[in-house]
């Protein structure tokens, strides 16, 4: 476990999130604040789910054996549900804040709900990824040999890729979720919850990484496409963007120069 592993895994897991942060969030102070508030909400949801898990463990008197595994599974499922609940709570808070801002000041200075959806998703994702991976990362700097007892030697790589997919998934889930709430399409919330549960329960397949990671990435691609269309993108705009013919974008860039 060398510095190469540390830096490699760190950039795999957090590179895209860092890039998203630097290019889209760091420029506007209000977005940074909403990002940190989103991270805080995720943290509180984790706290709540840990409390429940701890209580259940205390109730079952900490016996070892298969019951611990079932408790863990229960903990994971409960945690996912609580996370989505807190996403809903954050949505409600942002809605109220938005309305408050609008009533105070009719001119549009507050960020739009779509932007807040993205920012909150990123906040949730970053916090989730960091909490899952940072301890593993710091261990990777120390001495040791991975897989010496017969476990998979790809432990770190797998964790890094899984963290990346979770972060991106949270971003897409946030966008889709908020849109569903705005348009009162409640089945969207259900779909988000179910896909989240699916991704989390798939991780029970560790250490059989293949199916686990591949299906998580497939889900991420689907969610990404859905989020793209929900956020207002279209095939045409994508084509224009890729061929650098997007007039609005080019004009905007020129203006800021």
């Amino acid at each position: 476990m060398t510095a190469a592993v540390f830096f490699g895994c760190a950039f795999i897991a957090f590179g895209p999130a860092l890039a998203l942060y630097i290019f889209t969030i760091a420029t506007d102070p209000l977005r940074v604040i909403f990002l940190i508030a989103g991270a805080f909400f995720w943290l509180v949801s984790l706290l709540l789910s840990s409390v429940f898990w701890y209580l259940v463990r205390v109730i079952t008197d900490n016996r070892d054996g298969p019951i611990q595994k079932y408790l863990l599974i229960f903990g994971v499922l409960l945690s996912v549900c609580i996370q989505e609940l807190f996403r809903l709570a954050y949505y409600k808070l942002l809605k109220k804040a938005s309305e408050g801002l609008k009533s105070i000041n009719p001119e549009e200075t507050a960020p739009s709900m779509r932007l807040l959806a993205y920012v909150s998703g990123l906040g949730f994702g970053i916090m989730s990824g960091v909490f899952s991976f940072v301890n593993t990362l710091s261990d990777s700097l120390g001495p040791g040999t991975v897989g010496i007892h017969g476990d998979s030697p790809q432990f770190f790589l797998n964790s890094a890729f899984m963290t990346l997919v979770i972060i991106l998934l949270h971003v897409f889930w946030g966008i889709v979720f908020f849109d569903g709430c705005e348009k009162k399409k409640w089945y969207v919330l259900l779909i988000v919850l179910l896909t989240h549960l699916l991704v989390s329960t798939q991780t029970f397949l560790s250490p059989y990484y293949g199916a686990n990671l591949v299906s998580a990435y497939i889900i991420m691609v689907f969610m990404g496409i859905w989020a793209f269309f929900v956020a207002g993108g279209s095939c045409r705009s994508l084509k224009l963007c890729l061929l650098c013919q997007d007039k609005d974008f080019l004009l905007y860039n020129q203006r800021s120069r």
Binding site: P29, L30, L43, S50, L72, I104
Partner: protein, 448 residues
């Protein structure tokens, strides 16, 4: 201590405006040009910037008398929101930097986590056989520490009230000398030891001398704002490291709790020492002990007229954020974890050409105690980063909420209570509840 900074020019005019400042309602403000109205509500002036003056010019009919009922009600709130987020980030960055320095040092340099005795302010040891005894000792330590702080603060306020400026300046200079030279020397020594780098005495002397001398100049006199801010962050980090090293475990947590209660009381109660300090400073239209305060922006006004509009003076002082040293005399510091609003020196409504940045001020005590909390979390948590991160986010959110309250109430506010409360809650809950959960998940490679 959180405050909004108006302009901090050294030659602040002390006139009849200033005594009206605290009594003034925040919303009344005259925007008429050329009229240095004494009834201007300076408190709202902080929010004003060039934008509002430009607005005045563009739409004079609408904004002719901003302090008067003809003014659109949304303008003030819009400015509030526009500048609110910027101020929050202007404080997030230094607080984050200070915490990063402290956490990086704690995680790498062994010296600051070794137990090498205690301060005389916390005489009771925590190496006791029973839990109850330990708790009692930590409470006693806290009582002693807090009373030292209270006595020092009251002493400082009394000195300030009776205008013993020389004594105060001497005290501040002594303590910043100690911080900038002695503590830096120790810190540098320990860092070099950790990384096994040899440094000869002449080089060491040169480095420490330059660092300290430039620091003294920047903090007590004039210097580039960024350098001043950097030095203040460094000395806050050094102070926090000293606290982390020398305060015993449980005493540190109890002290953190007690000092946020003290902060609340000292700033909000009418007879609280810090509040009296703020009010005295506002009455005299002086900045409060520059150097106990971190200021996030400078005020640089060009062509700002003074008493008579006809004589347009040229450049005022480029920077004078009044950064002197902090009065951390050893460890009995009057921590100034409070917010205040500094008086506005320029005349609102005059033509303010040139840049003028409004900023927020935060007391150095706040930096120190935030960093102590996060540093303790980093030191105590068995190499666990989750606890440190949770405390960090909790403190930032507390600071955000405090700034929101500052925007609402527009007066001096204590910056410690909310953040420290959140920080403590998250520390204990993450350490005891979340950590086992996340560890179990991570070891099975489960993701939630």
């Amino acid at each position: 201590m959180l405050t909004f900074m108006a302009s901090d020019s050294e030659e602040e005019v002390c006139d009849e405006r200033t005594s009206l400042m605290s009594a003034e309602s925040p919303t009344s403000r005259s925007c008429q040009e050329g009229r240095p109205g004494p009834e201007d509500g300076e408190n709202t002036a902080q929010w004003r910037s060039q934008d509002s003056d430009e607005d005045c010019e563009e739409d004079p009919d609408r904004y002719a008398c901003s302090g008067v009922p003809g003014r659109p009600p949304g303008l003030e709130e819009e400015l509030t929101l526009k500048y609110g987020a910027k101020h929050v980030i202007m404080l997030f960055v230094p607080v984050t930097l200070c915490m990063i320095v402290v956490v990086a040092t704690i995680k790498s340099v062994r010296f600051y986590t070794e137990k090498n005795g205690q301060l005389i302010y916390t005489p009771f040891t925590e190496d006791t056989p029973s839990v109850g005894q330990r708790l009692l000792n930590s409470v006693l330590n806290t009582l002693i520490m807090i009373s030292v702080i209270v006595v020092m603060t009251i002493f400082l306020v009394v000195l300030y009230k009776y205008r013993c400026y020389k004594f105060i300046h001497g005290w501040l200079i002594m303590s910043s000398l100690m911080l900038l030279f002695l503590f830096t020397y120790i810190y540098l020594g320990e860092v070099l030891k950790t990384y096994n780098v040899a440094m000869d005495y002449p080089t060491l002397f040169l480095a420490v001398w330059n660092f300290g001398a430039v620091g003294m100049v920047c903090i007590h006199w004039k210097g580039p704002l960024v350098l001043q801010q950097g030095y203040l962050i460094m000395i806050s980090a050094l102070m926090a490291l000293v606290f982390i090293k020398y305060l015993p475990e449980w005493s540190a947590w109890v002290i953190l709790g007690a000092i946020s209660v003290y902060d609340l009381v000292a700033v909000l109660c009418p007879k609280g020492p810090l509040r009296m300090l703020v009010e005295t400073a506002q009455e005299r239209n002086e900045p409060i002990f520059p150097a106990l305060i971190y200021s996030s922006a400078m005020v640089w006004t060009v062509g700002m007229a003074k008493l008579d509009p006809s004589s347009q003076e040229a450049l005022q002082l480029p920077y004078d954020p009044e950064m002197e040293e902090d009065s951390y005399d050893g460890f009995g510091e009057p921590s100034y974890p409070e917010a205040f609003e500094a008086p506005l020196s320029g005349y609102p409504g005059e033509e303010l050409e040139g840049e003028e940045e409004r900023g927020v001020k935060l007391g150095l005590g706040d930096f120190i105690f935030y960093s102590v909390l996060v540093g303790k979390a980093a030191a105590a948590a068995n190499g666990d980063w989750n606890t440190t991160l949770a405390c960090f986010i909790a403190i930032l959110i507390g600071l955000c909420l405090t700034l929101l309250l500052l925007a609402v109430f527009k007066k001096a506010l204590p910056a410690l209570p909310i953040s420290i409360t959140f920080g403590l809650i998250f520390y204990f809950s993450t350490d005891n509840l979340v950590r086992p959960f996340m560890d179990t998940l991570a070891s099975h490679q489960l993701y939630i």
